[in-house]
Amino acid sequence: MILALLPLIHIFLGMAAIAWKACARATLIIALLADIGLVALYFSPVSHVLSATAAGGWTEAIGIRLMLDSLALDFLLLTVLLEAAVLIYLWRQRLHPTFVLLLQFLIGAVMALVLSQDLFNIYVILELLTLVSFLLVAYDRRTFQIWASLKYLILASIGMSIFLIGVAIVYANVGSLGFAEIGVVVADNPQAGWIPLAAALLTAGVAVKAGILIFSLWLPDAHSAAPAAISAFLSALVIKMGVVVLIRLAHVFPLGPTLKILGTITGIGGAIYAMSSRDLKRMLAFHTLSQIGYLLIGMSVPEYGAESGVLAYAMAHGSFKALLFLAAGAAYDVVGSTDIGHLILERHRIPLRTRSALLLGTLAIVGLPPFDGYIAKAPLLAATHDWTSQIVLILLGIGTAASFAKLIPLFKGPYRRVGNDPAWESYVVLALPIILFLPIERALFGTAFTLPVMSWFLAVESIVIVAVGWLVYRIHRRLRVRPSERLFRLEPAIFALMIGFIAIYLVLRFL
């Protein structure tokens, strides 16, 4: 039953923040300490108290099963890390109790989702995540924020209706909603007629939340419009919740080819849009799409070791994307704009610590050897043996490097001491896993987490990828081609969602 405490603590503390307004800030610290304590229990001799349970004392068939497996543990650790970083980032700002309530609900929902093993419970929590992030994106009530989050709510709600119909079909044919029971029934008769339809409905529904290009066309607007701390949370963590559900679905349903196609489209499309985007936060948001492509391609690979690579990459991406978003927010506070050309013009006014944080995040995201971007990308590259996935992964690396090459002038001098970044401690929290990724993972997961990172070939390969990316950037700058962003308006986005669902169904049915 202790597992159920993890999300519940956040829900109760969030309500306490509303009841005792003076303690709003304290509830965030209490929640962080409680999370650290509960997650530390897993590594202690009494870890059996965290064993799988059905909530509320029901039998496993109809109860909601909670389980702390390696997937859940990975994302719990990421949640605690981001919670600490965002808490430090927000420390010197005035926090309204409502904001604290929403933040606590967001963290609690994330924790409930990674532990959940029940399809309908996942539906409810995904809807809770939608509602809470909808309110947080538009927290400052600027018009473009309101429009971005309204678009997000409409698209996510359509997606969740599709997901609910999929849940109904699964329940009609399996008679249970737990992943274990569904897995048994599907393995019994993998040719059953309902499987492609149910899998297509569930995948398309989750894809809207998971940042997959033809489905989540709300993402660039919502993630670039939100306040910096919320952007960091949404882009580093909440978007991965869709990926968690996709991983769990891929264990049950035969989703391999679908995920590969979706991953290719998402990754390359996201990279192309990121290359031509001139706004820092918008570019980071497009990048989230392209990094989700990495995760999807890693999930489609059946080889041993690919899944631990996916988990490692999700964690690494969480740390450096949060760092980049927080630093971009600090830069915005000084300069008053997130336009890249403009940030470069005014770079002498951005504090050195902010610029170093941006530099560290850039080095990590393009995958240069000592940092976690490389360490987590290496097992994905090593585990994919078919040449199409290899090519897509390399193209993604080139796209990433090409879009971040835009930031190079930002790191040139002058290096005068100007101002002070009030939130630099949060960069330190996030920089720790970026620099010390390998020792930390080894310490937490032991020998189960062996990655082929010491290969010279992979190190040289990633450096060559970055160099080629820089060349592509030089060529692209001359060409001055920009893809139209009309696709990201509301009506094209809804249309693309429907088309995407039909495409997924056809792929699952006939491939």
């Binding site: 109809i62 309908f120 539906y123 409810v124 809807e127 809770l128 939608t130 509602l131 909808f134 309110l135 538009a138 009530r141 018009t143 473009f144 309101i146 429009w147 989050s149 309204l150 709510l153 409409i154 709600s157 359509i158 969740m160 209706s161 599709i162 609910l164 119909i165 849940v167 109904a168 079909i169 329940y171 009609a172 300069v335 008053g336 704009s337 336009d339 403009h342 005014e346 002498h348 006014r349 308006r489 509301l490 009506e491 809804i494 249309f495 429907m498």
Partner: protein, 138 residues
């Protein structure tokens, strides 16, 4: 007329809602269509294991009588509440947009938001290039 059951009606509702969401430009009608789509999901979930001979699932159950599955009935309660929350919150946001733009036309609002975002950027640019003289402050 056995084919007119909950499942087929749900599919028809979903199709109507999806069409309205794409072709109608009015935001309020879009939200109504969204409500239709959400209701179709609920109808589908509750009618998927239903049979006309079933009775209510209340104990004690008489022998030889089919009872309806109580689990979907419990599940749709949460789904109904969630959809209510989504519609209520999105209507509030539409109200905020209408207050600022005096229109519920989706394309108009989108256009206004995009131009506003662009002018916001250039305004910031103006204030910053104006404040270059004060650069020497600590």
């Amino acid at each position: 007329m056995a084919w007119i059951n909950g499942t087929t009606i749900a599919m028809v509702l979903f199709a109507i809602g999806a069409t309205a969401l794409i072709v109608r430009r009015d935001l309020v009608i879009k939200l109504l269509a969204l409500g239709l789509i959400n209701s179709s999901g609920i109808l589908f979930l509750i009618s998927v294991r239903f049979h006309p001979q079933m009775t209510v699932p209340i104990l004690p159950v008489p022998d030889g009588v089919l009872i309806a599955d109580p689990l979907p009935q419990a599940l749709v309660l949460s789904a109904i509440v969630i959809n209510f929350a989504i519609l209520a919150l999105s209507l509030v946001f539409v109200m905020l947009l209408v207050e600022r733009y005096h229109s519920t036309d989706c394309e108009r609002i989108e256009h206004a938001v995009e131009t506003e975002k662009a002018t916001l950027g250039s305004q910031n640019l103006a204030t910053i290039s104006g404040s270059d003289e004060t650069e020497g402050r600590p």
